[in-house]
């Protein structure tokens, strides 16, 4: 298996002592940074920089011929996007400060420690990635067109909010930083994760797993794998999912319930790209991109101490919030059509035609289960449907079931829900008649003057509603 190079563009390391460069190279390679080019002739550096793009430059200042400081000045000027890390002799603080002011990104003073070198280079790579993304985002904010519309073909939508999200997804597609996808259950977080993987162009696999309900041992075992004999019943070695996702993407769904112990392991994975298979003392490194999803309010959980702040901070670098279905009701027609097609195919029936009121009816529903729920409703309707036109009955039944779930009866409407539905003015409280009138008007508006549907919303029979309208309940204020 060909090893993938990290980072995407090479790191150029410059020092007059070539064996020192080799030793830096070994240490960086051990930490997963294997895309490096060494140069021990300071006169060749500017030429090399002009030849190709580098991720970062590691520069020793103590060199004969063209000094490190000269190179720094020129490079910082001509290639401002490339972070430059300088290595100074010990006791050269003034030189270090001078160089930082001239545009160096970071400095390392001798004696150079292994961990310091690795951390510094990693930070430079991260910085560079975020800057590049930032530039891309800025350009895209005004540009509506997608570069890779096929990557989004599984996500059925015409909605503007979704299109903005697609633009953002394209901008961050090449990232190696983790991505957090939030949204209610059933909105399609897994589809978004898959699209991100397709956009990334990474050659490895897209590996997905749901971690809700996994205890600490299962979580670690599933993700990191184990060596033979590492615990009871570990008869053979098991490869973890992270290894299967090497060079590709690992998608962890429902991480909201992770225990604090598992959170720590996940954090180390995200911070150091390293993990320990169960039963092993040797750290393994991964280059898999990690995408996580949750339907809980992370911010709240982190405030309550149920979720580690540092892990939250780490996951927050890229966040995609997928709107609920009720926030993109303009997609109802195209979604209904899509699922009708799929259901008909699966159930071996002719695709029924859609009654025009169906969209209106469904647009009054809050869809707590979002698209997954809608798909189930359509499927159910197709399976029970007999005539040429799809009946609305099964939809109504499904909606009523859940309506009871939201507000059971008038006496139990608690204050919170009440306020969410209606805000009472401080000055003027409407009379019962007026309130009724307002409600009827709103219901008719939402149902596009369809009295049957309006009656459904208000919880009365069609006749009762019709009666009230006829007797002139709709008075003006």
């Amino acid at each position: 298996m060909e090893e993938s190079l990290y980072p995407g563009k090479p790191i150029l390391m410059v020092d007059d002592e070539i064996h020192l460069l080799y030793s830096y190279d070994l240490s960086l390679g051990d930490a997963g940074i294997n895309n490096t080019i060494t140069c021990n002739d300071s006169t060749k550096v500017m030429g090399m920089l002009a030849d190709r793009e580098f991720e970062a430059l590691l520069l020793d200042l103590n060199m004969p011929n063209m000094t490190g400081e000269e190179i720094l000045e020129k490079a910082a000027q001509e290639y401002p996007h490339m972070p430059i890390i300088i290595i100074t002799g010990n006791n050269e603080l003034e030189l270090a400060i001078r160089c930082m002011k001239k545009g160096a990104y970071d400095y390392i003073a001798k004696p150079v420690e292994e961990s310091r070198l690795v951390t510094s280079v990693k930070k430079a790579i991260e910085y560079r990635e975020l800057r590049a993304e930032n530039d891309l985002l800025r350009r895209r904010i005004f540009n509506e067109k997608l570069e890779n519309p096929e990557a989004f073909s599984e996500i059925i939508t015409n909605n503007d909010k979704m299109k903005h999200i697609f633009n953002y997804m394209e901008a961050i597609s090449r990232t190696t930083e983790p991505i957090l996808i939030t949204g209610e259950t059933g909105v399609g977080k897994d589809l978004v994760a898959r699209a991100l993987h397709n956009l990334s162009g990474r050659k490895g696999n897209f590996v997905t797993t749901n971690v809700a309900g996994l205890d600490d041992q299962m979580f670690a075992d599933t993700l990191f794998g184990h060596k033979k004999g590492s615990f009871t019943n570990a008869f053979t070695e098991r490869k973890g999912l992270i290894e299967k996702a090497s060079g590709g993407t690992l998608f962890l769904d429902e991480i909201g319930d992770l225990s604090l112990t598992s959170q720590v392991k996940l954090l180390r994975l995200l911070q150091e790209q390293e993990y320990y298979p169960l039963g092993s003392d040797d750290p393994q490194y991964t280059d898999a991109v990690i995408i996580v999803a949750t339907n809980v309010d992370f911010y709240q959980m982190q405030k309550e101490g149920k979720f580690r702040k540092d892990l939250y901070y780490r996951l927050n670098v890229h966040q995609i919030n997928i709107p609920s279905l009720r926030e993109r009701l303009d997609d109802l027609p195209v979604l209904i059509d899509f699922f009708l097609g799929k259901a008909s195919e699966t159930l071996n029936k002719k695709k029924p035609s859609v009654p025009p009121e169906l969209v209106t009816l469904l647009s009054t529903y809050s869809f707590p289960g979002n698209i997954r729920e809608m798909q189930a409703m359509v499927y159910d309707a197709v399976s029970t449907h007999k005539s040429r036109i799809l009946s609305l009955d099964s939809f109504k039944r499904a909606m009523n079931k859940n309506k009871e779930f939201i507000i059971s009866d008038e006496t139990s409407i608690n204050e919170d829900i009440g306020e969410a539905i209606i805000k009472f003015s401080n000055h003027h409280l409407p009379t019962l008649k007026q309130a009724q009138s307002l409600l009827i008007r709103e219901a008719l508006k939402r149902s596009k003057n369809n009295q049957t549907i309006a009656a459904q919303i208000l919880g009365v029979t069609r006749q009762a509603l019709s009666q009230r309208i006829k007797t002139g309940i709709l008075e003006k204020f």
Binding site: E17, V112, E113
Partner: protein, 140 residues
């Protein structure tokens, strides 16, 4: 002339990357080498090798180190009546050493007893110096 690969060189330097680099240079040149962090560890190694009846043919040591510096190390070596030749490596110039370590070590006589290399040096000059030292001894 004895074969290079029978020669064993001990390298003392407090910097991790320098140790690795020097080991690479010596290995490329055909020598065996052992690397240690400081004078204390060096003495441990010397005793260890002695007990195994292996000769250390040369010691390459940095001057500016914590715990015990290069000169102090040599002094201690003399106290043990060790005949192992030493090459001192320094990031400072010769005259700066005087200032740093005091006149006690500035006497040219003392310095001339030991080979002295200024860092940064090319690997060629280092190997050259090592070869000279080892040949010089075998001629004796």
């Amino acid at each position: 002339m004895a074969m290079k690969k029978d020669k064993h060189i001990l390298i003392i330097d407090d910097e991790y990357f320098i140790r690795i680099a020097y080991q690479m240079i010596l290995t490329d040149a055909g020598y065996n080498s052992t690397i240690v962090e400081d004078g204390e560890e060096a003495f441990e190694k010397i005793l260890e090798f002695e007990s195994k009846n292996i000769d250390i043919d040369l010691i390459l040591t940095d001057i500016n180190m914590p715990k015990i510096n290069g000169f102090e190390f040599i002094k201690k070596l003399k106290e043990f009546n060790s005949k192992i030749p030493v090459i001192l490596m320094s990031s400072y110039r010769y005259d700066e050493i005087e200032v740093l370590l005091g006149s006690k070590f500035s006497s040219k006589n003392n310095i001339n007893n030991y080979a002295f290399i200024e860092k940064p040096s090319t690997s060629e000059s280092l190997i050259c110096c090592i070869d000279k030292q080892l040949n010089h001894l075998s001629l004796n």
